[in-house]
Structure formats: structure tokens, C-alpha cells
């Protein structure tokens, strides 16, 4: 029940934040802050120490017996990890928009909290119907965040974001229903429960198409090449908190979906599809990096870097061995933190300079050394400097991938170089060079430094002692590996990759 309560706390907190605006304009911020802190404390306080069955926590309430739909939530290591990340980044998001939002702060924070609630739901739901419900519901507050509090081109961005995710979501709905009816044909009972649908002996052709429905929805959200084009627009136009949430956690729902649903539900089809997925991952890594290099808009650059980094997640998931899977989970967490920080930085810059164009920045280090130092830290984090979380993630992914697809690994490793190129260019354009004498801007204040410091500490911790995270995720990922039919590995499919690619071209 505590999981349902967690979601409820966030929902009610959102309502309170909305209404509290009437009392005092500054109150919603505090309400939102308190809500997230309370839910975080609640989450950690109600954490069981041991697994019950496959799950750390599990609850099930009957909902729509007509379709075998239940209100079923469950938590394992990966979901716990992502929940904590979600709530922590929620705090960052609130901190980053503390002084930015003047228009209807109540509704703004309500939407923020509702997005968090939706994301928490996504990470907890193990009934496919319920999952889809949260999946869609989290979009609406996010859409409103972009559409109401966004920047100059927000309509286009918000619309694009919503249509991309919604259209792919429809495909997933279709796939979910098809899967449930396959389950009906096999088990004789209609059910949307994850546990009932695991391990079905699906008709290969149908399984393939159904898998594709899931895959599309998740890779649009991830986002993987070539479905990523909504991301730069959405990120650029979203308010800072929106970007932080979007990059930090919403993208992770895509990766989580692949990990939790797409691969375990369709091991055979995923296995066959792995080469294509990995090819998309490699393409995303490089394409994102090239386009990040080409941008002059600070936020756009970071957005494309996300595309590049999430390519590693895709690679890690479909390389499908312990190392790569751990790397993918690690990347989810580390990228969440580092990109959130970069977006917070971008938001702070925009708030101070009223531009995101790096051509109009330059020499900011002189005026704001603390910002410069933070930018430096997170830029090198995103280029994968050892000792920081992103490195652990990327090296694990690449190590795992190397065992199955050395050629892909070599190409993907080029991403390490290109990441350096765009990260350093960003630093150069914004913070180095000749400072503009006319310009004066305040450096980060204590509140912002607190948030930044926390994220730096998190990345260092992830980079130097990632074991707690790895241990949390391990049982889940080991479970995933047992799904591989014996004697059948991704490596065995590697030959198929060339054929598939050839046919694709």
C-alpha cells in the first residue's frame, strides 16, 4: 500500500500547491518542496529490507475484473533506484525554478508534482494497463508545463512532444491488448498482469509485431535515433524545471520500459531484433554527438547530447549481458543527474542573460566562476571522464557490448571522442573567451550551489563507488538474463545484423 500512498502524496501535494497560491504567491514552492521531501522520506522509511518473491514490495487491488485488470504495483531494485532518482531530481527541478516562475506558480508546481506522480506510477506499475495509464497521464502535466511556461516557440515544441509520444503510445496500447489476448488464447484467461504475461509462448510473427509496438513507444521516449526529433525542441522550449524532469527522468521511463517490458515479455523477438536495436543505438550515439556539436543553442546542445547518451542505454539493453545491462541502468541514473544539472545550468544562464545562444555568451567564467566550475564539472561528466558516474556506465556498456558486437563497439566508442568535441566546444563558447565588459550577472547563489553540489557528489559517488546501485539492480538484471534461451545469445544473432542492415539499406 505504501507505493500507492507515495503516488497519492504527490497527487495531493499537487492539489495543495495549486490551491495554496491563493494564500500566498510563494507558498506553492514550499508546498512542493515539502511534498517531495515527505514522499522521499516516506519512500525510504517504508522500504523493506528483503525481497518478497521477485519484488521488494508488491500490492494488488482488483480493478476491472472484466479485463483482468488490477491496480497492481510492485517495486524491485531498478524501480527503487529510479524512484529515488525521480524524487531527487524533483527537488532539483523545484530548486531550479525557484525564482524563474512568476506566472501561476501554484499550477506550475502542481503540474510538476503530478508529473512526478505519473513517473512514479510508471516505475511501479506491473499491470500493463495501469502502466499505460501512468505512461499517458504523466504526459499531460508535462505538456502543460511546456505549453504554458515554455519559451518563445513553445506551442510547436509542446505539440510535437505530445504527438510523438502519444502516437507511439497508441501503438503500445495496441501491442498491450494484442499481448493480453495472446495470453487469453494461451492461458484461457484475459489478464493484463505482468506476471501472467511473462514467458508466454507467442506466435513468432505476432510476437515480433507486438514487440515492435512496445519498442517504438519506448524508443520514442528514450529517445533513440531516428525518433528523437521531438526532444531538442521540447527541451529547448521547456521551462528549466521541465527540461530537468524531461531529461532527468522522463527519458528514463523509455529505458525502463524496454528493460521491464519490451525485453522480458518478448525475449525471442527481442533477441532477433537486437542487432537492429543496437544499430539504432550506435547511430544515435554518433548522430546525437554530431548534431550536438552543430548547435549554437545551449539547451539544444544538451538535448542532442542526451540523444547520444541514451544511445548507450539502447546498446546496453540489447547487448543483453550482465555488464552491459548494469551499464545501461547506470547510464540511466548518471545521465539523469548530469543532464539535469546541465539543464539547470542552461536555465540559470537563460534566466540571467535572456538568451540561450552561445554565440552571445563567452567569457562567463570571469563573471561567474562558480557557474563555470559547475559547467566544467558536468561537461566532463557528460564526456565520460573516469571517476564520474557516466564513465562507469559507458565503460560497462561498451565492455558488455564488446563481447557480443566488437564492430558496433568500435563505432560506438567514437562517441567518446565526439562527446569530447561538443562538450568542450560548449565550455569554450559559453565560459571561455573574452568576457563582455558590459555584462554583469550574478553567480550561482547558495540555493543553486546546494543543488549543484548535491549532484556533483552524486556523480562522484556513482563514479567511485557505484556498488550500491549495481547491487540494487543486479537481481533484476540477472532475472533478465535467464530469459535468454540457452545456447542462443545476441552474438549468435550478430550475423543477422548485417543482413538486416543490408536489407534496411
Amino acid at each position: 500500500m505504501s507505493m500507492a500512498l507515495l503516488i497519492l502524496i504527490l497527487l495531493v501535494g499537487g492539489l495543495l500547491a495549486w490551491r495554496s497560491e491563493k494564500a500566498q504567491a510563494n507558498l506553492p514552492r514550499w508546498v512542493a518542496l515539502a511534498t517531495v521531501v515527505i514522499s522521499l522520506a516516506f519512500l525510504l522509511a517504508t522500504l523493506p529490507q528483503e525481497h518478497t518473491g521477485n519484488w521488494l514490495q508488491h500490492m494488488k487491488l482488483d480493478w476491472m475484473p472484466r479485463f483482468g485488470i488490477a491496480f497492481e504495483l510492485a517495486m524491485d531494485g531498478v524501480s527503487l533506484l529510479l524512484l529515488v532518482l525521480t524524487l531527487l531530481l524533483g527537488l532539483v527541478a523545484i530548486a531550479s525554478s525557484w525564482s524563474e516562475i512568476d506566472f501561476k506558480p501554484g499550477l506550475f508546481h502542481a503540474n510538476l508534482l503530478w508529473t512526478l506522480a505519473g513517473v512514479c506510477g510508471v516505475f511501479l506499475a506491473v499491470d500493463l494497463f495501469l502502466f499505460f495509464l501512468f505512461w499517458e497521464v504523466m504526459l499531460i502535466p508535462m505538456y502543460l508545463l511546456i505549453a504554458i511556461w515554455g519559451h518563445e516557440n513553445k506551442t510547436y515544441a509542446a505539440m510535437k512532444f505530445f504527438i510523438f509520444t502519444q502516437a507511439s503510445g497508441l501503438l503500445m496500447l495496441l501491442a498491450i491488448v494484442v499481448l493480453a489476448w495472446q495470453g487469453m488464447a494461451i492461458n484461457g484467461q484475459l489478464s493484463f498482469s505482468y506476471s501472467d504475461l511473462l514467458g508466454l509462448e507467442l506466435d513468432p510473427r505476432l510476437g515480433w509485431w507486438t514487440m515492435l509496438g512496445f519498442f517504438l513507444a519506448f524508443t520514442v521516449k528514450l529517445p533513440a535515433f531516428p525518433f528523437h526529433t521531438w526532444l531538442p525542441d521540447a527541451h529547448t522550449q521547456a521551462p528549466t524545471a521541465g527540461s530537468v524532469l524531461l531529461a532527468g527522468i522522463l527519458l528514463k521511463t523509455g529505458a525502463y520500459g524496454l528493460l521491464r517490458f519490451c525485453i522480458p515479455l518478448f525475449p525471442q523477438a527481442s533477441m532477433e531484433f537486437a542487432p537492429v536495436a543496437m544499430a539504432l543505438g550506435v547511430a544515435g550515439v554518433l548522430y546525437g554527438a554530431v548534431l550536438a556539436f552543430a548547435q549554437s543553442d545551449f539547451k539544444r546542445l544538451v538535448a542532442y547530447s542526451s540523444v547520444s547518451h541514451m544511445g548507450f542505454v539502447l546498446l546496453g539493453l540489447y547487448a543483453w549481458n550482465q555488464l552491459a545491462l548494469q551499464g545501461a541502468v547506470m547510464q540511466m541514473v548518471a545521465h539523469g543527474v548530469s543532464t539535469a544539472a546541465l539543464f539547470m545550468l542552461a536555465g540559470a544562464l537563460q534566466h540571467r542573460l535572456h538568451t540561450r545562444d552561445m554565440g552571445r555568451m563567452g567569457g562567463l567564467w570571469h563573471q561567474a566562476p562558480r557557474m563555470g566550475a559547475c559547467a566544467m564539472f558536468f561537461a566532463v561528466a557528460s564526456l565520460g571522464l573516469p571517476g564520474l558516474g557516466n564513465f562507469v556506465a559507458e565503460i560497462l556498456v561498451l565492455l558488455g557490448l564488446f563481447a557480443v558486437q566488437p564492430a558496433f563497439t568500435a563505432v560506438a566508442a567514437l562517441g567518446l571522442i565526439t562527446a569530447a568535441v561538443y562538450s568542450l566546444r560548449m565550455l569554450q563558447q559559453a565560459f571561455q573567451g573574452v568576457p563582455d565588459k558590459q555584462r554583469s550577472m550574478p553567480d550561482f547563489d547558495a540555493r543553486e550551489m546546494l543543488a549543484m553540489g548535491a549532484m556533483m557528489a552524486a556523480l562522484l559517488w556513482l563514479g567511485l563507488y557505484p556498488q550500491p546501485v549495481l547491487d540494487l539492480a543486479r537481481p533484476v538484471l540477472e532475472g533478465l538474463q535467464t530469459l535468454v534461451p540457452p545456447g542462443d545469445t545476441v552474438a549468435a544473432q550478430a550475423g543477422g545484423a548485417a543482413i538486416v542492415l543490408g536489407a534496411g539499406l
Binding site: M64, R66, F103, T155, M159, I163, Q166, A167, V177, W181
Partner: protein, 482 residues
């Protein structure tokens, strides 16, 4: 005819009584408030009476009417939608014309026509119900508003709808000529037994179908829809889009079920074809509309297209009951949503004597000025778009389940494509409503008092309830079909 028969027809009797009372009231003293209250009360009572009529169901009352739970469910639905329309239109009507109390009389008549259609198991009752509904609607469209547009809309609707009725009637005549019966059930038996001439049956089917498809505004019989919706007064449009279409769909479904027309594969395939055309055409037509009423009109074409899927499902799926369940659920959700959407337009147009606030520009920033009505629209649009937590989502989920169980992949593909297109135009309205005050010209509207607010609350509540806790309704639907 014994007491039970009257018992079974309770809703119709209540409506008829109400009509008489209302007529007397208008003759006695014109008072629009009183008329509206009487109409709403009658409709509410009629809806309530269905609850009692169920006790004797199923019961065939004369060859014409079948009082079963299916019919009574839709009676309840139509009466509730009618009641909502009555409440919504009160202030709207007050502002227009000189105390046209007859508006509510006509509304009652039209609702009664819809209820008769829900009961109908005979071509005669079908004819009577359909014409009662249609003729009342012609008048409703043109009556309260003395401007040009409603007139044009009424004229178009009258001519085209009349032609459609005539076509359907001709088809029935041919059917009658071929089989010698007017009852749905015996029709089914006769079709099965007698060696009926195909040359007569097939054109008959085509003509009946044309007539009804017109009323459902399926592509390619849809051209009238936007014009009539646009010209008609907003509350009437809501009624037209929800109750009128719902009633025709119900009778079509009953005809197919009772006469077992599903055995004619070509007929069902035609429904599938029209479904696909409507899903795509309706959504494409709605895409760039800046007039919300027209947009909703086109979207209603698409929604009926979604609904038409279930005929194909009935012949392909092992679970025919699921398809019918899905159709009923969809109709209920769609009715609630449509009433809500047009309800908002009615509310914000109430004090505009000459025109209506139906352009996108006119709802700009509504969210900040009128939060509750804007929420009503928001919920309605999300429901139309099929976003979870709303009735529309469960309805679509039902449909998808049904279609998947029948492996109707082409129809599903059209549904997905259509729904994807639809997101854009629904979202656009939401976007306009949430525009910041500094981003749009000053728009003013006043929302009428407590009635609108209460009704908004009720509608929001019911749409969300249908979306979040649909299990009891699902259970009920399952019960009446088994």
C-alpha cells in the same frame, strides 16, 4: 396490454405526460424558467423511471416495442443527456428570442423519439421514432435563434435528412416486399428461410444503410454534418451529436442483432469500409479547423467511424458480446463527452445574443478566466482524444480489445492513424485555452450562475468516474448481454 406493459413503457409515459404538462404550462403562462425546469424534471423522472421499468424487463410490448435492459439503458442515457441539454440551454435560450418555451417542448419530443428508437424492434416504430426525432430537430435548430445561420442549417438538415429518411424507407419497402415482415426478429427468420430474391434484398440493404449512415454522418454521407452543427444553437448541436446519433446507432445495432444481418458478409464489410473512411476522413477534416463547433462536428464523424468497427468485430471475433459491450460503453462515454464539450460552448456563448463564442481565438486563455468550465472542456477533449483517466480512454480501450479479439488489423491501423491525427486538433484547443493573458486579445464572456457550474461539476465527475472506476458499468453491461 396489462399493467406490466405500461410498467415497461414507464419512461415513454413519463415523457408523454411531461410533454402534455409542458404544453399546458406554455398555454397557461409563458415562463422560460418554469418550462426549462419542467423539461429537466420530466427528463430526470423519465431517466429514473427506467430504473423501475427494468423490473419487468424483458418484455415485448406490442410487436413494435421491446422493453429490455438494453433499451432502458439507452433510454436512461438519452433522458439524462436531454436533461443536461435542458439545463444548459436555459440561459442560452433566455438571451435569444421572445420566451420560446416551445424549445423545451421540442426537446422533450426529440428525446422521446430517441427513446422510441431505443425500444424499437419493428420498422414502424423505427419510422415513428426516427421522424419524431428528426422533425423535432429541424425545428430545434432553427427555432430559438432568429439569425441566418441556424436557418440555413435547418434547411440543409431538413432536405438532406428527409431524403435520407425517404431512402431508408424505400429500402424498408423493398425489404418488406421481399420478406413480408416488418419485425426485426421475424425478418431474420424469413431471411434465413425463404429463398428471397437477392436483386431486391441487396439494393434494399444499400438504401437502408445509406439512410442510417447519413444520420450517423459516416463518410461519404457526412457533408452536412459540419454545416448543421455549425449553424445550430450550441445546446442543440450537443443533443444532435450525442442523442440523435446514439439513437440511430442503437437501432442499427438492434437491427443487425435481431435480424442477424451479420450473416451477410458484404454488408458488414461495407460497414467496415465506411468505418475506415470515417475515421480517416473525419480526423483529416477536423485537422486545421479554427471553428471549434466544426472541429467537433468532424471529430464526431471520426468517432462514429471508431464505433462502426464493432460490426466487423461481431463477425470476426469469437466474443460477439464483447463487441456489443464495447459499442454500448463507447456510446455512453461519447454521449457524456459530447454533451460536456458542447456544454462548454453553450456556457460561454450564453450571453452573446447574436453569435456564439466558437472560434479558437475566443477560448484563448479561458483557463485563467473561467477555470471550472475550462476544466470541463479540458476533460471533454482529453476524453475525446482517448487519454487515460477519462471515459473516452476506457471506451477506446474497449474497442481496441474487441478489434484485437477479432484480429481486425486494418481497422485497428485506421484507428491508430486517425487517433494520432486527432491528438493535434484536440490539443490545439487545450493549448489555446491555456494561453497566457498577455498572448491573446482580450476576450470577455460571462458564465451563467450555479446551474452551469453544478452541471460542469457533474459532467467532469461522470467522465472521470467512467474513466477511473468503470467496473460496475462494465459488470452491468456484461450482465445485460448474457
Amino acid at each position: 396490454m396489462n399493467v406490466n406493459h405500461f410498467h415497461a413503457l414507464l419512461p415513454l409515459l413519463v415523457l408523454a405526460t411531461g410533454i402534455v404538462v409542458l404544453m399546458l404550462q406554455i398555454a397557461w403562462k409563458r415562463n422560460i424558467g418554469l418550462s426549462a425546469a419542467l423539461a429537466a424534471l420530466t427528463l430526470a423522472l423519465a431517466a429514473l423511471s427506467c430504473r423501475f421499468a427494468v423490473e419487468v424487463a424483458p418484455l415485448q410490448v406490442t410487436p413494435l416495442l421491446q422493453a429490455d435492459r438494453f433499451a432502458l439503458l439507452f433510454c436512461t442515457l438519452f433522458c439524462l443527456a436531454g436533461a443536461a441539454t435542458a439545463l444548459l440551454s436555459r440561459d442560452y435560450i433566455v438571451m435569444r428570442g421572445d420566451q420560446p418555451g416551445e424549445f423545451f417542448l421540442l426537446l422533450l419530443l426529440a428525446t422521446m423519439g430517441a427513446c422510441v428508437l431505443a425500444y424499437a424492434v419493428h420498422l414502424a416504430s423505427l419510422l415513428l421514432g426516427l421522424e419524431l426525432l428528426s422533425v423535432s430537430l429541424y425545428t430545434l435548430i432553427a427555432y430559438p435563434n432568429k439569425t441566418v445561420l441556424p436557418l440555413e442549417a435547418a434547411a440543409k438538415y431538413l432536405v438532406l435528412s428527409g431524403a435520407a429518411s425517404a431512402t431508408a424507407l424505400f429500402g424498408f419497402a423493398l425489404l418488406y416486399a421481399a420478406t413480408g415482415t416488418l419485425e426485426f426478429a421475424t425478418l431474420g427468420q424469413k431471411l434465413g428461410v425463404t429463398d428471397t430474391p437477392q436483386s431486391m434484398l441487396l439494393p434494399a440493404a444499400a438504401m437502408i444503410f445509406t439512410g442510417l449512415a447519413f444520420k450517423l454522418s459516416l463518410v461519404p454521407f457526412h457533408l452536412w454534418t459540419a454545416d448543421v452543427y455549425d449553424g445550430a444553437p450550441a445546446p442543440v448541436t450537443g443533443f444532435l451529436a450525442s442523442v440523435a446519433k446514439g439513437a440511430v446507432f442503437v437501432v442499427l445495432l438492434r437491427l443487425f442483432l435481431d435480424a442477424d444481418l451479420f450473416r451477410y458478409r458484404i454488408l458488414v464489410e461495407v460497414t467496415g469500409l465506411l468505418a475506415i473512411l470515417s475515421m480517416l476522413g473525419g480526423n483529416l477534416l477536423a485537422l486545421l479547423q479554427t471553428n471549434i463547433k466544426r472541429m467537433l462536428a468532424y471529430s464526431s464523424i471520426a468517432h462514429l467511424g471508431y464505433l462502426m468497427i464493432i460490426f466487423m468485430v461481431c463477425i470476426t471475433s469469437a466474443d460477439k458480446a464483447l463487441a456489443v459491450e464495447a459499442a454500448i460503453y463507447y456510446l455512453i462515454a461519447y454521449t457524456a463527452t459530447t454533451v460536456a464539450a458542447f456544454g462548454l460552448l453553450t456556457l460561454i456563448s450564453a450571453d452573446q445574443a447574436e453569435r456564439e463564442n466558437i472560434q479558437l481565438q475566443q477560448v484563448s486563455g479561458l483557463f485563467w478566466r473561467q477555470p471550472l468550465p475550462a476544466c470541463l472542456m479540458l476533460v471533454a477533449l482529453l476524453s475525446l482524444a482517448g487519454i487515460p483517466l477519462t471515459a473516452g480512454f476506457i471506451a477506446k480501450f474497449y474497442l481496441v480489445n474487441a478489434a484485437v479479439s477479432g484480429h481486425n488489423w486494418v481497422l485497428l491501423a485506421a484507428l491508430v492513424v486517425g487517433s494520432s491525427i486527432a491528438i493535434y486538433y484536440y490539443l490545439r484547443v487545450i493549448y489555446y485555452m491555456t494561453r497566457r493573458p498577455e498572448e491573446h486579445p482580450v476576450v470577455q464572456e460571462t458564465i451563467s450562475g450555479w446551474r452551469g457550474r453544478i452541471l460542469s461539476g457533474v459532467l467532469i465527475g461522470s467522465i472521470l468516474l467512467l474513466g477511473v472506476a468503470p467496473q460496475s458499468l462494465m459488470h452491468y453491461l456484461r450482465a445485460i448481454l448474457h
